[in-house]
């Protein structure tokens, strides 16, 4: 793999990963209270299975799936249910959530282990994954068992693990690949088994040589798994870009990876799958990169689902003077927070705090001067300039003609815009006004 694979266009933002890339994943001390949203995934919210006053144990189901595209949620500590009400989540929506106060014992239910997990059938694997409440941990949080159950007319021949981690600052997947490469590879093998696929790939941006080396060595005995070095370029970790780089297949406009016979999974998800299938462990904790110059001691942490951002930040030394923006996720596609009283959920890959220096004010913007920078970087080959002007003027139907719905809001156009236009906002506005 001499030439690093990649896609056309894209941007080169400052990655700033050195803040946390050398920090091993450390544990967070047991939170006193957790807030577990019943909907942390795309699809129907889970049905609440507990009531106020109930004693729960770590790993116990507190919400069960209410449909095919849905996912259960579990308690990540042992303690007592003290409230069930709507709470704000990191994406800004109010979601019915279960609040659990710790009893300090951290008692877990008994997990059902499967030492001979590679002998399980595809359906058994998918059932275990569903029971464990596993969803895509890269951010979108789509229920994984659904992704592993493509319709018959869409045969799958390839699984790709996304180790690109192209979002600046984030190092959660990086650390997992360095520290637990064997388990990640086992996770990949389980996914391949569940899909009946013989070809597995892992794509890693070449700015993580230690991860590349660790994964290569972990996969050395596996003839059907290839580790790829990818060019450092945002959004290399977008599914469509990753598939293009590794398999040179283009997911059709309006299509999904399964349209080109590929399933893409996140590194963290692969590990969670391994733990679920091997040890019967539900998804109750995940690696979160707590970083940015606004954090006193940036680090990677194993955080229990439901822990409030304020608790996590406190354990990283708190905020520094001049911290102005808190983001759940990465700087390109993450969500700005107005309060730190929101919980870490299954899709929270990072908590990023920016200072006045890193944060470039974007509240004032200018008319488009049609310089074409956005056209040059759009990974999908859209004309963001035109789309933003059409959205600004209310011509939403016309925007649709310019393939508005192929935009996946990576923010590359906004990043390069010299007029500082809120491009992603314009795209979302237009999308909300017309049917796909």
């Amino acid at each position: 793999m001499s030439n690093s694979a990649t896609f056309e266009r894209g941007i080169h933002p400052k990655y700033n990963k050195e803040l946390s890339s050398g920090k091993p994943v450390s544990a967070v001390k047991l939170p006193q209270r957790i807030v577990v949203p019943l909907s942390q995934h795309i699809g129907a919210p889970a049905k609440c299975e507990v009531k106020i006053g109930d004693e729960v144990k770590k790993g116990q189901v507190i919400g069960s799936p209410s449909g095919f595209v849905s996912s259960p949620v579990h308690s990540s500590i042992s303690g007592k249910v003290v409230a069930i009400a709507d709470f704000p989540t990191a994406i800004g929506r109010l979601v019915p959530s279960v609040v659990i106060e710790s009893d300090g014992k951290d008692e877990a239910i008994a997990f059902r282990e499967n030492p001979a997990y590679m002998n399980l059938s595809a359906d058994e694997i998918k059932a275990l994954i569903k029971e464990a409440g596993i969803v895509g941990m890269g951010g979108a949080a789509f229920p994984t068992n659904v992704k592993l159950s493509p319709p018959k007319e869409k045969p799958i021949d390839t699984v790709i693990l996304n180790g690109a981690e192209c979002e600046p600052y984030l190092t959660a997947d990086h650390r997992l690949m360095v520290e637990r490469p064997k388990e990640v590879i086992e996770g990949l093998k389980i996914i391949m088994k569940a899909l009946g696929v013989n070809e597995g790939h892992v794509g890693i941006e070449e700015n993580k040589p230690d991860a590349l080396a660790a994964m290569k060595s972990a996969a050395s005995g596996e003839s059907n798994i290839k580790i790829h070095s990818l060019e450092i370029k945002y959004p290399q970790g977008a599914e469509k870009m990753l598939i293009k780089a590794i398999k040179n297949r283009e997911v059709p406009s309006k299509g999904l990876p399964m349209d080109v016979s590929v399933v893409v999974q996140n590194i963290g998800t692969a590990l969670a799958i391994y733990e679920a299938v091997r040890y019967g462990k539900p998804l109750i904790e995940r690696v979160v990169t707590v970083t940015g110059n606004g954090i006193k001691e940036p680090r990677n942490m194993m955080v229990r689902i439901g822990t409030l951002l304020s608790d996590v930040i406190e354990q990283c030394g708190g905020l520094v003077e001049g911290a102005v923006k808190v983001i759940s996720g990465g700087p390109m596609m993450g969500f700005a927070q107005w309060s730190l009283d929101v919980p870490v959920t299954k899709g929270t890959s990072g908590i990023l705090v920016l200072t006045e220096i890193e944060y470039v004010a974007s509240d004032e913007y200018f008319p488009c001067i049609r310089c074409g920078r956005c056209v040059d970087v759009c990974p999908i080959g859209l004309n963001p300039s035109m789309l933003s002007i059409l959205a600004e003027k209310g011509f939403y139907e016309e925007a649709k003609q310019y393939n508005l719905f192929d935009c996946f809001e990576c923010g590359s156009c906004a990043y390069v815009c010299p007029a500082k236009r809120p491009m992603v906002q314009f795209m979302r506005l237009a999308k909300s006004q017309v049917k796909p």
Partner: protein, 336 residues
């Protein structure tokens, strides 16, 4: 919960949360800076008049934008370097010896009529400086075509009146033009360094190329427009430009003379008035080149760069509508 984070207020805005440092003002001021070599050459060849004419253009441009925006209760953006650039470009497109009202009227037309009345930066259809110049040329044709020898007149004495190289070429032919400069080599040399009659900032090809190199280095312009523009001019000049039949023309003279360098690198590449899509920019450049040569070879004016760019400005929106960038995952019509 920790106390120091409890009462802190945070900025909430849409992603992405980090941005490139490039801004409109930075781009505009860099383009202004890249015209400095050409401006220095203008002062060298035409003396203080260059400073006077260009200064008046810039002053009028910036002031009229400011007054208009204040008067209309709009955000004042006259410091973003864009009005300054319009003034500077207009100044460089004027003959050295014009009365004071020429720069003032030209800048007024450029900024107020061409730019502000269409909605300000980003909304104008035509290159403001070129409309300003076109207006002046049609209103005061005599004054706007009175050219001077490039001998710096620091004492304020009037320089000898003469025709531009393209003017001589049009009226008296290539032989006379070469005679005027001695031999072909010194003609090329004069065109390259700028010791010929012409507009203030257009004569020195080498100074303009240095400026263009800055723009290329900063990635502010790409090859698409200048290359297709210049290539079309060179090819057309070579094929149709000679008196001895096809393929006998001299492309070098056409490339280095008149407003060619200034037009191809600094005027046709104006973001607002050229197509956004790179493929479309090639069409735009070819159009500019073809119209320039049509006017130079067959039209009534010796020079055609200005009208060529203005005419192609009209087509920019049409080109942008019909040329699409290469779309990822474009769906070919499949049999159903």
């Amino acid at each position: 919960m920790s106390t120091d984070v409890k009462n802190q207020q945070f900025i909430v805005s849409v992603s992405p949360h980090v941005r490139d440092e490039e801004s409109i003002a930075r781009i505009m001021w860099t383009v202004n800076f890249s015209l400095l070599p050409a401006f220095i050459m203008a002062v060298y060849y035409f003396g203080p008049k260059a400073v006077y004419v260009t200064g008046l253009c810039i002053l009028t441009a910036v002031l009229s934008e400011r007054i208009f925006q204040k008067g209309m209760n709009k955000k004042v953006t006259s410091t973003d370097g864009s009005a300054f650039l319009t003034g500077l470009l207009l100044g460089m497109n004027l003959p050295p010896n014009v009365p004071f009202y020429i720069p003032i009227v030209g800048s007024f037309v450029a900024i107020i009529i061409t730019k502000m009345l269409f909605g300000g930066l980003g909304y104008n259809i035509f290159n403001p400086a070129l409309i300003g110049r076109a207006f002046l040329l049609l209103t005061w044709p005599k004054l706007m075509t009175k050219w001077h020898e490039p001998t710096a007149q620091f004492l304020g004495l009037d320089a000898k009146t003469t025709a531009t190289p393209l003017g001589i070429l049009k009226e008296e032919g290539l032989t006379k033009l070469i005679e005027h400069f001695g031999d072909k080599a010194s003609l090329y040399k004069s065109l390259l360094f700028g010791s010929t009659a012409g507009s203030l900032g257009e004569t020195s090809a080498i100074a303009l190329l240095i400026g263009a190199a800055i723009l290329f280095y900063k990635k502010y312009i790409t090859w698409h427009i200048p290359f297709s523009f210049l290539a079309t001019v060179a090819l057309t000049a070579w094929i149709f430009g000679g008196k001895g039949g096809l393929f006998t023309g001299d492309p070098v003279i056409h490339l280095l003379s008149g407003g060619m360098m200034l037009g191809a690198f600094f005027m046709a590449t104006d973001y607002v008035t050229c197509p956004t899509i790179r493929k479309g920019q090639i069409i735009f450049g070819i159009g500019c080149g073809a119209i320039t040569m049509l006017i130079r070879l067959k039209g009534g004016f010796p020079e055609g760069v200005m009208f060529a760019i203005l005419l192609m400005n009209c087509f920019a929106p049409l080109i942008d509508r019909n040329v699409k960038p290469k779309q990822f995952g474009a769906v070919k019509e499949k049999k159903k």
